[in-house]
């Protein structure tokens, strides 16, 4: 197994996640796509950790998981508040900071 195949797989998933972040209109779905990107990153980290024979890859992957969990918690809390205020989870309506 080459390292390249895992890295490319990670890159693919990351790109798909990017697409999702930019395209989706629902805030929750945007967060979902962000989660996809995080997963890709995890795969990458572990693969490279194996390649370089460094345990730091897996350890950081654990940290990424923990932080991702925290981020989702907060993110959803914010989405909830927005929903309470506007009765909609459409990100297009969140443009109050515009010109």
């Amino acid at each position: 197994m080459t390292i390249a195949q895992f890295a490319i797989l990670g890159g693919l998933l990351f790109s798909i996640g990017v697409y999702g972040v930019l395209v989706r209109r629902n805030a929750v779905l945007v967060l979902l796509s962000v989660e996809l990107m995080m997963t890709a990153v995890n795969i990458n980290l572990v693969a490279f950790g194996r390649y370089f024979d460094n345990i730091a890859g897996q350890i950081f992957s654990l940290f990424v998981i923990a932080v991702a969990a925290a981020e989702v918690g907060i993110g959803l809390a914010i989405v909830l508040l927005i929903f309470r205020n506007r009765a909609s989870a459409n990100v297009d309506e969140l443009d109050l900071l515009r010109w």
Binding site: M1, T2, A4, Q5, F6, A7, I8, L9, G11, L12, L13, F14, S15, I16, G17, V18, Y19, G20, L22, V23, R24, R25, N26, A27, V28, L29, L31, L32, S33, E35, L36, T39, N42, I43, V46, G49, R50, Y51, D53, I55, Q58, I59, S61, L62, F63, I65, A66, V67, A69, A70, V72, G73, I74, L76, A77, V79, L80, L81, A89, D92
Partner: protein, 170 residues
């Protein structure tokens, strides 16, 4: 890709599954389906990670991501009353889609190019399974500071989440 290696076949299958799941997540118009597709993707990811020798990480993915994060998502979906079933359009229009696709595509191209340039045909070492005990050792000696930092982050997230989600007293 060396197809004589059984690992590669496994890898190929899992790659296809995860890619499909990912694509489904970002394109489907059904919100719940998207979340569940993500579950699939994550499960496959866990498998890939286990294949790479990170057993502990793999099971943590299953536990935390699938067990907690996706559940959280589903709760979020429920509360924000996303249309269950097909929604008219969850995506932006054509322009945005094209631009996003371009961004994604270019990003993939860049990454691929970089990886191939750098690593070419380098193979993974044969032995690579990591023992959980080693992770524990490393975590609490060398990486104890990031560990503590992450604990802080979780604490902050916990408190922040509670504060944010509280109903205002009228």
């Amino acid at each position: 890709m060396d197809l004589t290696d059984a690992g590669n076949w496994v890898f190929l299958v899992m790659a296809v599954v995860i890619t499909a799941a990912g694509l489904y997540t970002v394109t489907t118009r059904n919100v719940v389906h998207a979340a569940l597709a993500l579950v699939t993707a994550m499960a496959t990811a866990a498998a890939i990670v286990i294949m790479l020798g990170g057993e502990f990480v793999g099971w943590v993915i299953v536990l935390v991501y699938i067990g907690a994060v996706i559940v959280l998502f589903l709760f979020g979906i429920m509360i924000t009353r996303a249309q269950v079933g097909r929604a008219p359009s969850l995506d932006h229009g054509g322009n945005v889609r094209f631009m996003a696709a371009a961004a994604a595509g270019l990003m993939f191209a860049a990454i691929t190019y970089a990886v191939v340039e750098l690593f070419g045909d380098a193979t993974l070492p044969a032995e690579g399974v990591v023992r959980t005990a080693d992770i524990a050792d490393s975590m609490f000696t060398r990486f104890v500071i990031p560990f503590e930092a992450v604990s802080f982050v979780l604490l902050a997230a916990l408190i922040g989440g509670i504060v944010l989600a509280r109903r205002d007293e009228q």
